[in-house]
């Protein structure tokens, strides 16, 4: 599975004209993914992109690999069949907040629970783009959309907390425009064995423009983005003077400023991506009181689903080396008619 010449991001682009709206965040993600594949030395014919339906799910058409643009919400199930049939394949799954969390929530739940070895990229634009802008399960309360002219009333879902509850063992977050960090996160997702879940905040310029500005635009980025790294103190802010610590005596986090009221560097919590309780807290932090936690928030690997499945087949083959259907049919009670 190793290749001779190193491929470039361009080598992963198809000749198909990209059909997203000008200015759509999907373009940036496409760029980051193509760069990632080049960086990790992916082999095009060993790589499969699977998606459901939505603007985001158009993704496979633009990757010069194998691709399957399936039906709405079901991508995880196709990916499971693909991976079980040929575990050598490197399977990427692209979905949206509607595709993956509305109609497809159950399949996402079970692909994570089973820990199928695929990289799941959820493009979260907090809206249904392709169907012209209805609110989605991640839309904030009050979202005005064609189906909610008076504002939506459904409480939004947190993709990260949902994934954690589903038993996900790799949970990361990125931003469409964070070209510096995104490829690294995607590479880690790829390196992780088992299901990896990456939520990418993606701007829908037509139907939900600027929903993420509070933490994505230049002005607020530093004070509202906390990029976590395993083993490093969780610092953020313009001159990284702000940090997170455990509220003394409580099971909660608080924002502190190093150098203020006796807070020293040692008070700042060091990120442990293997700590599930910490992951639960970090994924649950909400603006404006807290920054948005980005990067690899949780990783705690376990054997992939296909290993166990294939082991059982291997064991059966070992136990019955020369398995013959003729023999199976003739096992048990038979009689001769002459």
């Amino acid at each position: 599975m190793n290749q001779t010449v190193k491929l470039t991001p361009k080598d992963f682009a198809t000749d198909q004209e990209v059909r997203w709206c000008p200015g759509c965040g999907d373009y940036a993600i496409l760029k980051a993914v193509q760069k990632t594949l080049a960086d990790i030395g992916a082999v095009p014919e060993q790589t499969v992109f699977v998606s459901g339906i939505g603007c985001s799910s158009r993704f496979p058409y633009y990757m010069a690999t194998y691709g399957f643009h399936t039906i709405h919400g079901r991508a995880p199930t196709f990916a499971t069949g693909i991976k079980l049939t040929n575990p050598d394949l490197d399977v990427w799954l692209v979905t949206g907040d509607g595709d993956g969390l509305s109609i497809g929530g159950n399949h996402l739940l079970h692909v994570l629970r089973r820990n199928v070895d695929v990289q799941i990229l959820l493009f979260n634009n907090e809206i249904y783009g392709l169907t012209k802008g209805q609110f989605s399960p991640t839309s904030r309360v009050g979202t005005r959309s064609p189906s909610t002219p008076g504002g939506s009333v459904d409480a939004p879902l947190s993709p990260g907390l949902f994934a954690l509850g589903a038993g996900a063992r790799f949970i990361a977050r990125g931003i469409d425009t964070s070209q510096k960090e995104l490829p690294g996160i995607l590479a880690r997702a790829h390196a992780h064995k088992g299901a990896s879940f990456v939520e990418i905040y993606q701007n829908c310029i037509v139907y939900n423009d600027a929903v993420f500005d509070a933490f994505t635009d230049k002005a607020h980025a530093a004070d509202n983005q906390l990029w976590v790294e395993h083993g490093k103190p969780m610092l953020f802010g313009k001159d990284r003077q702000k940090g997170l610590r455990i509220k003394p005596g409580r099971l909660a986090l608080e924002v502190v400023t190093v150098g203020q009221d006796g807070i020293s560097m040692d008070d700042v919590l060091v990120h442990d991506e293997t700590d599930k309780a910490l992951a639960h807290m970090l994924l649950g932090l909400e603006q404006p009181a807290f920054p948005v936690v980005l990067g690899v928030v949780y990783q705690n690997p376990a054997p992939s689903y296909h290993h166990a499945v294939i082991d059982q087949v291997a064991k059966a083959k070992l136990q019955k080396p020369s398995a013959s259907l003729n023999a199976v049919l003739r096992a048990g009670r038979t009689w001769d008619v002459t």
Binding site: T14, Q16, P44, E45, Q46, V48, F49, V50, I53, P60, Y61, M63, A64, T65, Y66, G67, F68, H69, T70, I71, R74, P76, T77, F78, A79, T80, G81, I82, L84, T85, N86, D88, L89, N106, H107, L109, H110, V309, Q312, V313, K315, A316, K317, Q319, K320, A323, S324, L325, N326, V328, L329, R330, G332, R333, T334, W335, D336, V337, T338
Partner: protein, 617 residues
């Protein structure tokens, strides 16, 4: 034998008997029946069985809805159906009597375990007094035995609890009936030894009960009603036989089909009655490389199977009506992406949840027409348990040769019924190895075989043929998505013609029984096969001009079927639905076919079809 002769004037039937074992869910009637089946088969009788169990897992003891029954028809002539009315009814308790007595033919033998005929059970069964003392019983030959007591007696001091001891009742009953019809016990003794390998005392007790029941028949002083009958061997084709249920045969056929195609088998399914046995059988055949995936729901099951096909496996999914309904959208994708897939529907009585444990043929519309868009696919229907094996292989052949999903219809009766099966030699079955596309030269995913119109199948992992597919319409010449009007027309017609073209690749329609022209053709499909055939044979013996046509290829239909039907004055279509094949035949051939429709969740009786034939001739 005389308990037959009483009513049946049909000499060819004299040499067959119908027994029904009926008791509480806990009484082990299904075991009794299947063991009686085995030893009957070993004696070389032809046979057909009909297990009929309740929807409840284990309903409260003694209730009518907890009654479980097993009927077997066996004889020295071709049997084909479990029989219209039992000649012998074994009722292990009042509830079993209540539910089954009306089916026992007049003059038939009723064996009742008087040990269970007490007030508590009468009341549970909805009787106010002892039904055995009722006048209606006069119509039958009653044999009252305290089987409970006789069993306890037979196994006493064998260290069993009273509960365990009573569990041996069914073996005592089996022993008695085996004696009646001169069937050997050895096979059952062997089976008991293996079944209770871990608890030899239970094996011994059951065997003791079995022998006691047998001895009772031999020694006891009994009314003439109970005699020792002999039933000759059936004139079956020479060869090695076993009994097989539809569920088994279908699972084995899928494994064989994948082998013949040279592909790994991927089976994605979600449990549902009565389709689950296929999942269970395949789950135990991993040594063939079979992957069975119990998905979170039916949609996940079929989509995983499509993903597997996309990756180069033979993807198969299986369910029953309500579950198949959920697969409709995904079937459309398989049609649009033109991937091979086998979809098995073990039909049950509907609509909606309906009667999960009862049989019906009411999903034909769903199979042929039940999708959005112009979405044609081949539909096959099995006639009987052993047929499941052949058609599973045929489904795999059509799916891979034509790159299309195929629907294979079975039903709850076929899935659970058993019949003798002349074992095929797997190696003698011609194979149809798949050749994946590996040549990048001029490749695109919707390149077609000019003859079959099947598209090129290149699988992930193949260098140089990377491509993207999906459910959006594709350009005929490049496989890229296309919104072009003329192209959509071309692709729609191509998909249609590909499926219609399969008619050239399937057997011409033959006539099962009778002439290929005449007064009346009785046209059937699926599990009505045996009943129709027996009825037509009997009618012909009575000199009636009637033929039996059985359709296995529901879509596309055999090329000669239209002409064949035109050659009959009348066409009668018996179906266990309100007339679904009828719609297809009438619209395709404009023949004034009429339906004979039974929607009771029960298979047709021979007499019901025979009567309909007589009414028309």
């Amino acid at each position: 034998m005389n308990i037959q002769a009483v009513t049946d004037r049909d000499i060819h039937e004299l040499d067959s008997v119908v027994i029904r074992f009926a008791g509480d869910s806990g009484d082990g009637m299904q075991l009794t029946g299947s063991q009686f089946t085995v030893s009957t088969a070993l004696e070389g009788s032809d046979l057909s069985t009909f297990p009929d169990f309740p929807a409840e897992i284990r309903a409260p003891v003694g209730t009518t809805f907890g009654v479980s029954a097993f009927q077997i028809n066996f004889g020295s002539s071709r049997v084909q159906t479990p029989g219209d009315a039992p000649d012998v009814l074994v009722a292990m308790n009042p509830a079993a009597l209540k539910v089954n007595l009306s089916d026992l033919r007049d003059g038939g033998l009723l064996i009742a375990d008087s040990g269970t005929f007490n007030d508590r059970n009468f009341q549970k069964a909805g009787y106010t007094t002892n039904p055995l003392r009722d006048d209606i019983i006069a119509k039958y030959q009653l044999l009252e035995l305290d089987i409970s007591a006789l069993t306890l007696e037979a196994v006493k001091n064998m260290g069993l609890s009273n509960k365990e001891a009573l569990r041996c009742k069914n073996m005592w009953t089996l022993g008695l009936t085996l004696w009646m019809f001169g069937r050997p016990r050895q096979a059952i003794v062997d089976w008991l030894h293996t079944k209770f390998a871990k608890r030899p005392e239970l094996a011994d007790a059951n065997i003791a009960a079995l022998n006691a029941g047998h001895a009772y028949g031999e020694t006891a002083e009994l009314s003439g009603s109970l005699r020792h009958y002999t039933i000759g061997k059936a004139q079956l084709e020479p060869g090695l036989y076993r009994t097989v249920t539809g569920g088994q045969a279908l699972a084995w056929g899928l494994v064989a089909g994948a082998q013949k195609a040279g592909l790994p088998l991927f089976f994605g399914s979600y449990p549902i009655t009565p389709a689950s046995p296929i999942l269970h059988h395949l789950s135990a055949l991993k040594e063939f490389g079979t992957l069975t995936f119990q998905a979170e729901d039916e949609i996940a099951a079929i989509c995983a199977a499509i993903g597997a096909s996309y990756t180069g496996a033979l993807g198969v999914t299986s369910s029953s009506g309500p579950g198949i309904a959920l697969k409709g959208e995904a079937i459309g994708l398989a049609i649009s992406t033109e991937l091979p897939l086998v979809i098995v529907n073990t039909q049950r009585a509907g609509p909606s949840t309906g009667l999960p444990t009862k049989t019906e043929q009411s999903d034909l519309y769903q199979a042929v027409y039940g999708r959005n868009g112009d979405a044609p696919l081949p539909v096959l229907a099995t006639a009987k348990p052993s047929d499941c094996f052949d058609l599973a292989i045929e489904a795999a052949r059509l799916a891979t040769k034509y790159m299309t999903p195929v629907i294979l219809l079975s039903d709850g009766y076929i899935a659970n019924a058993a019949e003798p099966w002349k074992l095929p030699d797997i190696d003698a079955i011609p194979d149809f190895k798949v050749e994946f596309r590996t040549d990048p030269e001029g490749f695109h995913p919707f390149l077609r075989d000019t003859e079959t119109l099947a598209r090129a199948w290149a699988i992930p992992g193949t260098p140089g043929t990377t491509h993207r597919i999906g459910g959006i319409e594709k350009n005929y010449n490049s496989g890229h998505i296309s919104y072009d009007a003329a192209n959509h027309q071309l692709m729609t017609e191509t998909r249609r013609n590909k499926i219609l073209g399969i008619a050239k690749d399937i057997p011409l329609q033959k006539v099962e029984v009778g002439n290929d022209r005449g007064k009346l053709a009785v046209v059937g499909w699926g599990s009505t096969y045996g009943a129709i055939q027996q009825a037509v044979m009997r009618a012909r013996r009575d000199g009636l001009d009637v033929s039996h046509i059985h359709i296995r290829n529901i879509w596309p239909l055999p090329q000669n079927l239209g002409d064949l039907l035109q050659a009959f004055d009348h066409v009668l279509v018996p179906e266990m639905n309100t007339g679904q094949l009828l719609t297809v035949l009438r619209s395709e051939y404009l023949v004034p076919a009429e339906g004979l429709n039974k929607i009771s969740g029960q298979p047709f009786k021979i007499a019901e079809i025979l009567e309909a034939i007589r009414d028309r001739l």
